[in-house]
Amino acid sequence: FDDPPGLQEKTEFLLREWVQLYHAPSSGRESTKAFSQIVYQMNMQGILKTDDLITRFFRHATQMCVDMCYRTLNDQAAMTPTMVRNKCFRTLDAFVRLIALLVKHSGESPNAVSKINLLNKVLGIVTGVLLQDHEIRKTEFQQLPYHRIFIMLLLELNAPDPVLEAINFQVLTAFCNVLHILRPEKAPAFAYAWLDIVSHRVFIGRMLAVTPQHKGWGPYAQLLIDLFNFLSPFLRNAELAKPITILYRGCLRVLLVLLHDFPEFLCDYHYNFCDVIPPNCIQMRNLVLSAFPRNLPPPDPFAGKLQVDMIPEIRQAPMIQTNYASLIQPPSFKNELDTYLNTRTPVTFVTDLRSTLQASAEPGCRYNIQLMNALVLYVGTEAIAAIQAKGLQPNKQTITHSSHMDIFQSLAVDTDTEGRYLFLNAIANQLRYPNSHTNYFLHLILYLFAEANTPAIQEQITRVLLERLIVNRPHPWGLLITFIELIKNPTFDFWSHEFVHCAPEIEKLFDSVARSCA
């Protein structure tokens, strides 16, 4: 609105001029000569006079670039996809270079504020044009121009350059903000391009390896959570049509790279990720839970006579980046929980647990999964602290007869199949590499098996473990250790249970899993 007269024409003239200058052999190293010329012309046109004018200029320029791309994409007569792309990128890459140079040279170095303000402004404009386009064109929307602008600007601003290095974390933060605004739930037609940017080797490297003190880990974790949130309803329903499968496989690839190169990142954020990964995405969740710190390689789970309690790291609490205690809502419930944990009263707290955890009557969505996960981890960590406060370590003796165990046994006995499945999953999600949580929760799930008052509970415990074991690798160390203990330790008398022999193929399955574990 209220554009000064002639702004559109001036913008078009300057953009054309710049594209010519950018591609001319005389543009100079990194287009510096061309840039001096265009800045002079922009000054002559009064564009650089105020922030507002610069913003309006970029809005028109972005729109012109996008419109040019749509014309080229829709006029594919006699042009191969490569030719179409070359034509579009010829203008887009020039436009990106102009943005990068204006960002780099705006304000006096090392004054980062004006540079980052301009970058945020331009990214905001491109985002706004994208969302409007996405809204208007709907299934005719094309990701190409926006993807190219974002990815090439990201690469330009991550070039080895002292001025850019000085503002790199703010640049990355600006991109994370934009990518969060453009998360797949908000711009599903941009989802593939979005993941292409998030999974780009330069972006992963900068966010997870180069940025000091792991400052990039939190924002990057948020982007993965955005992806899991989008995929969740489709994966939960196993809606694996090709468009979803491609995105799912892409997600697996990224997680594999993270497992291989940044396992500590997956360790720290496993809780957040498992809170949003659908419970039936067993292999993807195993991938996250299999990560272990590279300086703490777990002992071979299949080596006979492994004494878990003798592993030194088993006493150390793992890093968890989430304040899961604050996820226990409402605050009144958290207060009652703490009161019970400290005083084991009122007894009604335990008997009311199930109703507190229920979210709806809808089968399959009856329980608040996030609350269940947070409750189990919180009570477990409180139990560990209480045991260690007595100078002891969690084992089958020290974990019993406590307010913590009251809660766990009530969740095992009082909930229905759905509720108990989520409860047991919350426990199994802590069976990871050797640490105090793995240690406590493996003793807990085995204790619940031994103390179960019905075979149904024992069967369900077995199911929860087994469904995590029969999927393709990788498998978390704590899961393997737990199952090996269950099938080998005579205390549990595992092989005598009827459900183990309920059908020939199940019996065969147990045999093969037992053999692979043995």
């Binding site: 070359n86 299934t139 090439m152 037609a189 940017i197 489709f234 049509a241 468009p243 979803i244 989520l422």
Partner: protein, 148 residues
Amino acid sequence: PLGRVPMTKEHDYQYQMLQAAFYHMPHPSDSERLRSYLPRNPYPTPPYYPQVPPPGSDSIEFFLKLSVETLFFIFYYMEGTKAQYLAAKALKKQSWRFHTKYMMWFQRHEEPKVITDEFEQGTYVYFDFEKWSQRKKEGFKFEYKFLE
């Protein structure tokens, strides 16, 4: 035992938009600088052809095994990439030197006749990328200030 969750209208809309985008997937080249001289053009070769590069093919050791002509092909046709950088390193290790004034690679053909602080003069071979072959240059003055 969780079963399905009811899909909302929002989920249906999201799926429709994702499905439309599925037909405009990004190409790998969309996140690379324009390759004017050797763009990616995937071609369905018979499955028994190696479909991926041999392991270690992006290491200097691999490049050192390549012929000089191959290194020059990589240098001149894959500009601005890691391959060009590795080809240049491999050429230097085989005592080729890049002359920044002529933008060409030279190699001593024999001990130079004249050596001063500014230049060496003698017979060199250079790689002529128009004729795509090595040619001799008698009495060439290789000025150090143009040594990249």
